[in-house]
Symmetry: C2
Subunit: 328 residues, 2 copies
Amino acid sequence: MVEYYLGADAGGTGLKYALTDSDGSLLHHGEVITDPTSSKKTIARLAIEVAEKMAPTVQVGKGPFANLQAVGLACAGIVNPNSGNLGRSPNLLGWEGNNLKRILANEFSDKPTVVTNDVNGALYGEYRLGAGRDCENLVMIALGTGVGGGILLNGELLTGAHHGAAEIGHMVLDPSGPTCTCGGVGCLEAWAGSVAILKQARLLARVENQDTALALLVAEKGDSLSPHHLSQLAEDGDAASRALFTEVGHRLGCAIGNLVNLLDPEKIIIGGGVAQAGDLILDSCRGIVPQLVLAEEARHVPIVQAELGPLSAARGAASLARESVIGG
Amino acid sequence: MVEYYLGADAGGTGLKYALTDSDGSLLHHGEVITDPTSSKKTIARLAIEVAEKMAPTVQVGKGPFANLQAVGLACAGIVNPNSGNLGRSPNLLGWEGNNLKRILANEFSDKPTVVTNDVNGALYGEYRLGAGRDCENLVMIALGTGVGGGILLNGELLTGAHHGAAEIGHMVLDPSGPTCTCGGVGCLEAWAGSVAILKQARLLARVENQDTALALLVAEKGDSLSPHHLSQLAEDGDAASRALFTEVGHRLGCAIGNLVNLLDPEKIIIGGGVAQAGDLILDSCRGIVPQLVLAEEARHVPIVQAELGPLSAARGAASLARESVIGG
């Protein structure tokens, strides 16, 4: 009998899931649509789909989840992994205040459950299966719409006394910097999240000559403009968009300098959609970090791209679920 | 028979020590002169003085350290607590590269030893016996000549993968800020260490009218000017020196905002000589922190003064020594 572990990652539009075996190998994966007004409806959808996937392996007469050992859910927002409560969650407003552990247990026949923050889930996935698998002390920075963070120390996720730790995106780097979505000024997210990058690209397009490649791209793509479009332009040699990513990398490096001086991790993992710009960002980032780190031995901390892609948080949640029942 | 535990704190000019019983109560304390060119000579001096203090309790025929259970040494600089090696140590240049555990064992009849960084020692002292004794997750910021830091998570000191963690003084707060002693720009230490405070006071005295209270104080004290003189002037109502401490508190608060967003500790402890300025610094510090912290529950983290005074690192080192042999 195959023992299944389920990990899921609830975002504002979709909930990705991964079914793994007891070695963490991926058996099935998929996505259901998130109902941002109801965690219960979304998780019920997940349960139906997962039951279908596992049905061929279930003996007649046993319940649909007979082979499921544990369930993990990663969720954007402030997650209390002990109680299972979701606090502030800008992308899942209708889920705020819900007890996700209880809802998972209801929908999955009282199987053991774990819940975690989405970037913590992604970091745990990279730790067990991806870019961090040879380390116990890691920092992850996820460059998405905003900028999220995760910190792993001695193989344990750092959540903090009030589940408010690892908000790396809101480290203030420059009090005369741009305004951030959080209302603060000069946070890392105000340079390195995709909202900030697109805003900066549009600003450059407005102030520059209207027939530059960047201005033409911004005009052509309109509201569908993405960091990926900009990184393609940069790869093609456009100086303005290259400079934009260089600046993102520089600011990211400033944040990493502070992080290394505080935590001295073994490795820094950069994930999220914006990280696909790769060396366009990482070259300038890697250039500044050694200048900022005090301890000589800590100066050349590897700064690497995440390896697991969009399923990282779901696979990390599956790993956490598995370890909650069979140990690490 | 009284069981003794020895903790010591090696600074650039003096080595303070504390002898405690198995409850951590202070039995004796004192100070020997540091020889900054020789850790061996300094620790030999300590051994002679400690043997004298314990002599009345030692049975005839037993060695001088018969009642000593373990020895802990806190030392400024980058300390490897596993190997016992001291790395970079600006105040103890002649000690760099020494194996402090081996030297302690040689001078103290092969008793069990522990070594730690000085601010980590002070933090551990505050954790066990002082301002942090009800918590397991603490950050300490020591405002001395420079600015040191310590981080305690789940009751364990965070030292990092290369013993380079908790360098809170070199968090960059503003890339257009003043130059720091480390060669960087806009580090916390460039505002909040006593070197920075005195520099700023002398600058203000020069640019201001020469008969202001601050200018007169600076002229009168010359090279002996200390942060304590400035805080006395501020307590007497002098606006310029008050503004100077307000700025120190503001920058300290910016650093704490970043720290809380990263670590979400239960309490922040401010120690070191400059911290004696108390509310002159802490009022503005406490004012800015809640504006910078993202997680609502983490916003009102208590920011308190250290309680143990100049013996904190020696007492913390004694606690670490005690726990290395009898458990926490």
